[in-house]
């Protein structure tokens, strides 16, 4: 195969493999998504704790939770676009719903970074969701 064809092949295959795409979800790939979700929820809880205690800035809370929320949404989209069978399919659906909730709560923090009562409630919810995601990843 000429060099140019090899380069084209690599350029086509690399982005496709990096995107993950739809298709069948392996246990390993599911675990990676669940761990990522656990991480995002746990980090969101840390940010919410700071907001609830008034030990951070509203700008930081708003900007950082926007990034975390987008990442949680990405996890949700990836899980929604994949298929699995048996027990893994059940776990996939639960993780997808969980990702949606985490993204939603991070979105609330992003929109109301100065609401300490809301932040207190969301910190607790996000911690629970981090625990749930950890169990799913096991």
């Amino acid at each position: 195969m000429p060099l140019r064809a090899w380069i084209c092949l690599v350029l086509l295959v690399l982005p496709a493999s990096a995107c993950g795409g739809g298709g069948t979800l392996s246990t390993k790939a599911f675990q990676t998504q669940a761990e990522s979700l656990q991480s995002l929820a746990a980090e969101g809880a840390l940010v919410a704790d700071g907001s609830a205690d008034g030990r951070t800035t509203e700008t930081f809370v708003s900007v950082h939770t926007e990034y975390l929320g987008k990442a949680a949404k990405k996890v949700e989209t990836k899980l929604a676009g994949a298929q699995a069978s048996g027990e893994l399919e059940e776990k996939r659906k639960r993780a997808m719903r969980l990702a949606g909730r985490v993204a939603g709560e991070l979105g609330q923090l992003h929109r109301a970074p100065g609401d300490r009562a809301l932040a207190d409630r969301l910190a607790s919810d996000l911690r629970d969701e981090a625990d749930a995601a950890e169990k799913l990843a096991e």
Binding site: S36, S39, G50, H64
Partner: protein, 408 residues
């Protein structure tokens, strides 16, 4: 007394200027994943950059030639060209990542749109480079970077298990995830031994007119400056190990790094962390930009120098301006600066032998260096690190692919 004060101020600036976006990303990610287990790699990396910089500084002081000048002169145009191209590519990736990092921190401080802040960051960097005397740039960004010491205070307040920290300083293999552990070890070495720092340092030695009489100063500068700078890397890794590892947080954002100071120290910790990151990454962006222009100018024999007015070294000035524009274009594509940093660090490890080997050969050449050529100790360290550098250079890309950039 004035000389001592000058050295002390220079060292302070070097400590603050040691950390760049690669150190921030890899130290925090490694701490969150492996706790304190990889602290020993920071020591290996810091000793490596001391060995490499000391040789480059000595070659520059004796021959009055910085890295690419010496490489081209001693090893010819062809060999040098490969090293130049690879170094410039890595340099540009690093510069783009640093610019993206500056914009992200500005966003965390101001809440303004990221893309507008990228443009603002580029304009601010160009303005600072154009109008500020170099000593001011070095000192302001170096001292501003000292705000990163907040991570040392934060690390103490997080009450890490100091026994485990001590154990982490002893080289050992991981009990699990061997390949991911190896990937982070390679990344930490790459982050500590970033080549642009060496190009920048050796060019400074030539510009400041150091002679063989200044070799003691050269040794003290690299040992104390980089040695103490490594302390900040420790602080970042310990903070991440104490805070993020137990919670399962995998840092993916610059904001996560700052969270490491906010949780133990509150708003003041957060602001100091963001300001420290801003100055450290901003200073590194300027150093990277200058390094790229130095490399081109030295290789092609143009007039160069940060102390010259733009009209005195026009091609050098155009080179750094073009590098800034290219960095702007890369980061405006929307590429994630953290991901770009990881690629830049891994590729810098791959390219490292291309400049390290020529410098080791030149520093060892008695016909060129005379009595200032490498002695036994310098050669022992030089050869030991040659083996380390070759091993990590060969394994870096396979490890990055196999471990999916450390995600397992």
């Amino acid at each position: 007394m004035k000389k001592v004060l000058q050295i002390a101020l220079g060292i302070l600036a070097a400590i603050g200027g040691f950390v760049d976006i690669g150190d921030l990303v890899f130290n925090v990610e490694a701490g969150a994943q492996f706790g304190y287990q990889l602290l020993w790699v920071v020591v290996v990396g810091v000793v490596g950059i001391i060995v490499y910089s000391e040789m480059c500084g000595r070659v520059a002081a004796v021959s009055k030639r910085a890295v690419f000048d010496a490489i081209r002169e001693r090893l010819g145009f062809g060999v040098g060209f490969g090293a130049l191209v690879s170094s410039q590519l890595v340099n540009l990736m690093t510069l783009a990542a640093e610019v993206g990092g500056v914009a992200l921190v500005l966003q965390l401080l101001s809440g303004l749109p990221y893309r507008a802040l990228i443009v603002l960051a580029i304009l601010a960097l160009a303005f600072v480079i154009w109008v500020s005397p170099f000593e001011w740039i070095e000192r302001i960004f170096g001292y501003g970077g000292l705000a990163l010491l907040v991570f040392a205070v934060g690390a103490i307040k997080l009450h890490p298990d100091w026994g485990s920290v001590g154990h982490g300083l002893v080289p050992h293999l991981s009990s699990s995830d061997h390949l991911v552990y190896a990937y982070f070890a390679v990344g930490l070495l790459g982050a500590a031994m970033t080549p642009y720092e060496v190009y920048f340092y050796s060019s400074g030695v030539v510009e400041e007119g150091w002679t063989p009489k200044d070799l003691g100063l050269n040794r003290a500068n690299v040992m104390i400056g980089y040695g103490l700078g490594g302390f900040l890397s420790f602080a970042l890794m310990i903070t991440a190990g104490a805070l993020f590892l137990p919670l399962g947080v995998e840092p993916q954002f610059i904001g996560t790094v700052a969270l490491g100071a906010q949780v133990p120290l509150g708003t003041i910790g957060l602001i100091l962390a963001l300001v420290g990151i801003l100055f450290a990454v901003g200073g590194a962006a300027i150093d990277t930009c200058f390094s790229g222009a130095y490399n081109l100018a030295q290789y092609f024999g143009w007039e160069w120098g940060k102390y010259r007015r733009p009209s005195g070294a026009p091609r050098f000035t155009i080179a750094w301006a073009i590098l800034l524009v290219l960095a702007l274009l890369i980061i405006m594509t929307g590429i994630d600066p953290v991901m770009l940093t990881e690629y830049a660090v891994i590729f810098s490890v791959v390219a490292l032998p291309l400049t390290y080997i020529p410098i080791l050969l030149v520093a060892n050449d008695r016909s060129y260096m005379g009595r200032y050529a490498n002695g036994r100790l310098a050669n022992a360290f030089g050869l030991l690190y040659l083996v380390v550098i070759l091993v990590v250079a060969v394994s870096a890309i396979p490890l990055m692919i196999i471990t999916n950039q450390g995600q397992g």
